[in-house]
């Protein structure tokens, strides 16, 4: 028979094991909820595959020229350390041209070429290689992306300035907003704060003006003669329209991992 001290140590070890497994269980709890609303970087695998493939190193964060990627915290459960984009605060405007985060990813969680056996959901692939407006004059104007991150949706049409027949003067967003993007008219290689690039438009079309992808969004007339943004199939879900939308909260938002056409 083991000594009492040995037995106590054994019991303690069992409790230690149970406690750590318990902690693993608790850490799982916020995972499903956090997963549903996170906008992942371009080239991300389907959410479950993405979370398993991501090694939580943050190399994608380091290469993004507009610092659009953030790493999730413990509140995301098993998604801790995985990158996401808060488009309203800082969208991905593809100002790196080559989708640097995909190049940086060491484990293929962000990838140009999804392995053959991984699922491709209906509506996620884009019909044609997306044309990056900034590269329009280049010999190869397309982005090496086969699937979208999500789709932009005019989620609060009642707030949309165009729908009210209103224009917009001045910076896109309120004071203190620090989001950045590049404007080809300013500098192709240096993104500037969005608020340093004021607008003056008779009918607000900031979502259309700032969209980095060709043919992804346009302004069309409604029956009452007012205008409305219409999102089109090439939309990648990068979130620039959501970031640039001057209303508070934004009238247009990205639905993460939503395919085309959206429901």
């Amino acid at each position: 028979m083991a000594k009492p001290s040995e037995r106590r140590r054994f019991l303690r070890t069992g409790l230690g094991l149970a406690a750590l497994l318990g902690a693993s269980g608790i850490a799982w709890l916020p995972t499903p909820a956090a997963s549903t609303h996170r906008l992942r970087p371009p080239g991300a695998l389907e959410e479950q595959d993405f979370l398993s493939a991501c090694i939580k190193c943050g190399q994608c964060v380091q290469v993004c020229p507009v610092a659009a990627l953030k790493l999730a915290d413990l509140g995301d459960g098993y998604g801790i350390g995985a990158p996401y984009i808060d488009a309203r605060a800082q969208a991905c405007d593809f100002s790196c041209d080559a989708v640097q985060c995909i190049l940086a990813c060491p484990t293929g969680a962000l990838t140009y070429h999804k392995p053959m056996d991984l699922p491709v959901r209906t509506g996620m692939p884009v019909a044609a290689p997306p044309v990056l407006l900034a590269k329009k004059q280049d010999p190869e104007p397309t982005l090496n992306l086969k699937e979208r991150m999500g789709v932009a949706v005019l989620i609060r049409p009642e707030l949309c300035l165009a729908r009210q027949g209103k224009g917009h003067q001045g910076p896109a967003r309120g004071a203190g907003f620090s989001g950045r993007m590049r404007f080809m008219a300013v500098d192709r290689w240096k993104p500037i704060p969005l608020n340093e690039h004021p607008f003056d438009v008779a009918i607000c079309d900031l979502c259309v003006r700032t969209c980095p992808i060709e043919g992804a969004i346009r302004l069309i007339p409604l029956a009452d003669g007012k205008m409305t943004p219409e999102v089109l199939e090439p939309c990648l879900g990068c979130g620039v329209c959501e970031m640039a939308c001057p209303t508070e909260p934004a009238a247009i938002e990205i639905k993460p991992r939503q395919g085309w056409p959206h429901a």
Partner: protein, 323 residues
Amino acid sequence: MHNRFSESWRQLLGLKPRKPEAEQQKTEAQVIHRTKREDKARIEAFKAHRADIVRATRWRNRRWAVLIVTNLLFVLSFWLDIQMLEGSLTASRFLGFHMIDLNAALQVALAHKHIPINLIIGTVTIFLFWVLLGGRAFCSWVCPYHLLAEWTERLHLYLAERKIVSDHAFHRGLRSVLWLLFAALALISGYTVFETLSPTGILSRALIYGPGLGLAWVLLLLLFEIAYSRRAWCRYFCPIGLTYGAVGSLSPLQIGYHLDSCFHEGDCRKVCLVPHVLDCVIKGRASDTHINIGADCTRCGLCVDTCPTGSLRFEVRGLQNLL
């Protein structure tokens, strides 16, 4: 013959160190064990001299410097955009070359069930790196949690000395069980479950990308160690230690023990994170006159600093004989 390699692996997996039988000890070692106490003058001379010996901090200082500089290199590479060491401890690029933590790579491979080429390149690089530099040297020379735990360990020892807290040991086999369990969890659930709880990853990311809620978990672990069990995470829980320990079993860089000069004071075992690897320094236990300390050793050098007779030294197996 007492097989040091299998003994080293037994200890790594959490089994008790085995005391070698007399017939498993080399004759030279037996002679030293038998005759050591006969030279009374030598023992007296050592005792007289002992009080004057100031405990060295040379290796500890070097190690802390390396640990801090390595982690700082990660931080500055991002903050100042000097792009030397990009990423964090789970995976990074050093001047563009992939380096991937072996345990993180294992979790990802099991969870994702795909092994991209960069994962293989980075893993092989890091494997070879730590074979050369001594396996668990990762723990004591790089892991930021090790340094924090080393500092809070002093608080634990201070409180233990005043009988305010006491140290509660766990079975060392727990780490092996957890290693298997977290591997199984990754395989079955498809999530890198261990990364959620790994203070190494959490701290590394917090240093580079800014603090977060994950630090609360790290704090909890440190408090647990202060109040209840000395260095519990590194000793009994962390599967990363086992992974690098396995690598270290192949490493030529080891702490070497020299029986003839040892007075069996036991100071080394008191400062050691993994004192079972120093079982051979107990009087009568050494099976040979020179012993390579086992794979679970983190090559932290505290024993080297502490040993009053210089019987424990950093050595490179093979190279030592050439020199």
